[in-house]
């Protein structure tokens, strides 16, 4: 410790943490525009490097062997998965990363408690309480994120799983966890109870997420993101480390803000998402009169003619587009149309896809310029002046019942005003209702035609037809 005593000075290390925190904030600020975003990400990563190196210089850090092992393993897994992951699988990836972060926090809290127990004297409450909270939130985030991952990766059903009395079990678990936190915080030192609390939190994480359906994942992933951030901030209080507090609270506020935005875009509160098992019962619902109504079925050639002679086309992509991997074909179609002088834009609903902003990434991957990607509020006034609205794999976010039918479960949800376009073309596999099991009024509209089939096949056919139109 005599070597490099200046570098191992606590003030020096804390200054490095300050620089790192500033770089995190500047990095996130870079994300306010696609032009500066990449640079922002690099700034944040430099900040992280500074924070890590500063910690390695910390006088309390003396054994480097296991650190090297952990970093090597983590770096290989992280680098390989970051390169290999498909853009369609980003929601799973983010869910997994949330979980891994939460797990790390829980482990740090566990070992801190384990280290503090044998020390003489009481553990000060200002260390103890954040240890308990960080452990619980981290553990809930860990197990909850793994369930979200399993649902998105389709390792388990994406439909809500409910069992009788699960609200009661959840309630009992929360009471139990709160009780344990209180008991342990009032000075009772018991590693056994700490582990019990940790296990209860893990079970609660699982039970919290299994009743949530696939279409609600944008809200849930954002919430778990907030949990992981908050737990990291909690670990900062445990370790008296400001960079952890700052970075954790930045992530916590990001996750919270996204949760609010996503909930607003679905017109649903967080508790409604978590506790109502949306789409579980309705899916098997009765075949009402709606399903017997006729729809206008057309051929790719018909659609190609509409598109080729239009002035303005808006593409409305949804999760179905991602599933069919149709983003590249859509881009080809837009290229062909633009060659003919047709203006093509994309209307992106905030909850299109399985996580916030998912659809934008998929289209960016297919080289769609970001200026053509329009947010809901920006593009809604354009629909009445649009010749053709091409709906690909989007359903509930285009349902006019959300505006007009007070009895509809999605009434009040902000939607894309697709039905106001002169002509609506819906690309759809079959007439099966969407995830929420709600009949879409759009399909029966005067100005709506349906092109049935796999989205990618249909779009590829359209490209061919437009070329010869």
């Amino acid at each position: 410790m005599i070597v490099g005593s200046f570098l191992r000075d606590i003030d020096f290390i804390n200054s490095a943490y300050l620089v790192a925190s500033v770089l995190f904030i500047l990095g996130i600020r870079g994300l306010s525009h696609p032009r500066t975003a990449r640079q922002g990400n690099i700034l944040a990563s430099i900040g992280m490097l500074i924070a890590v190196v500063a910690t390695l210089l910390h006088p309390d850090v003396e054994n480097y062997g296991l650190i090297a092992v952990g970093i090597a393993i983590g770096a290989v897994i992280g680098a390989v998965s970051a390169r290999a992951v498909k853009m369609t699988a980003m929601p799973q990836m983010v869910a997994l990363f949330n979980g891994v972060g939460g797990g790390a926090v829980a482990l740090v809290a566990l070992s801190e408690y384990h280290e503090l127990i044998p020390e003489p004297g009481e553990i000060p409450l200002e260390t103890l309480l954040p240890t308990l909270l960080a452990c619980v939130i981290g553990a809930v985030s860990f197990s909850g994120s793994l369930i979200a991952f399993a649902k998105l990766q389709e390792l388990m059903t994406g439909r809500p799983i409910v069992f009788p009395g699960n609200q009661f079990v959840n309630g009992a678990l929360v009471l139990g966890i709160v009780g344990l936190i209180f008991y342990l915080a009032t000075g009772e030192e018991s590693e056994g109870l700490f582990v019990l609390m940790l296990c209860a939190a893990l079970v609660f994480g699982v039970l919290l997420i299994i009743p949530v359906g696939g279409a609600d994942m944008p809200v849930v992933i954002s919430m778990l993101n907030a949990f992981t951030g908050l737990s990291a901030a909690g670990a900062g209080f445990v370790l008296d480390n400001n960079s952890l507090i700052i970075a954790g609270s930045l992530v916590g506020s990001s996750g919270t803000l996204l949760t609010i935005l996503m909930g607003r875009a679905m017109n649903r509160s967080l508790s409604n998402v978590l506790f109502s098992a949306f789409g579980s019962a309705v899916a098997a619902g009765p075949a009402g009169e709606a399903e017997t109504r006729p729809v206008k079925d057309v051929t790719p050639a018909d659609v190609a003619t509409m598109l080729a002679y239009a002035d303005k086309v808006i593409v409305v992509p949804g999760y179905g587009l991602a599933v069919a991997q149709a983003q590249h074909s859509v881009r080809e179609l837009a290229d062909e149309l633009e060659k003919r002088g047709v203006e093509v834009n994309y209307a992106i609903h905030p909850v299109a896809g399985r996580m916030p902003g998912h659809m934008n990434v998929l289209l960016a991957e297919a080289d769609v310029p970001y200026d053509a990607l329009k947010e809901m509020d920006e593009i809604n006034p354009d629909f009445p002046q649009t010749d053709v609205a091409l709906v690909i794999g989007a359903n509930d976010v285009t349902n006019p019942a959300a505006r007009s039918n007070e009895s509809s479960p999605i009434y009040g949800m902000p939607i894309l005003d697709v039905d106001k376009a002169h002509q609506v073309v819906v690309l759809k596999r079959s007439m099966n209702p969407g995830f929420a099991g709600i009949e879409n009024e759009l399909y029966y509209g005067e100005n709506t035609v349906m092109l049935f089939g796999d989205a990618k096949d249909s779009v590829t056919k359209l490209v061919g037809e437009v070329k010869t139109a």
Binding site: A37, S45, N63, F97, G101, A235, V238, L239, L257
Partner: protein, 107 residues
Amino acid sequence: MSGDLITEITVFVLAVFVGFEVISKVPTMLHTPLMSGTNAIHGIVLLGGLIVVGAEGADTLSKIAGTVAVAFGTINIVGGFLVTDRMLEMFKGRKKPGEKPGEKDAP
């Protein structure tokens, strides 16, 4: 290390405000990179792992838990920043006529 609790709470509260301020300026379009980027940033918990496992006299439990925490944190940091960069690289503006592909769009 006995930190000043009030100072820490001050830092926390101010950071939350800064976070809300900065993040509310991120356009919807970039919300996925924002999430993967914040994944990388909460990898900061790696620091906790380093302190746990690097401590002189850490026992077996701390060593195992700490090493796993270090690995987890590193996955977050390395994976998060790389995948965010991969995504952001794909966001390109409309090419102006006469502009060569790959060139940056004018501000």
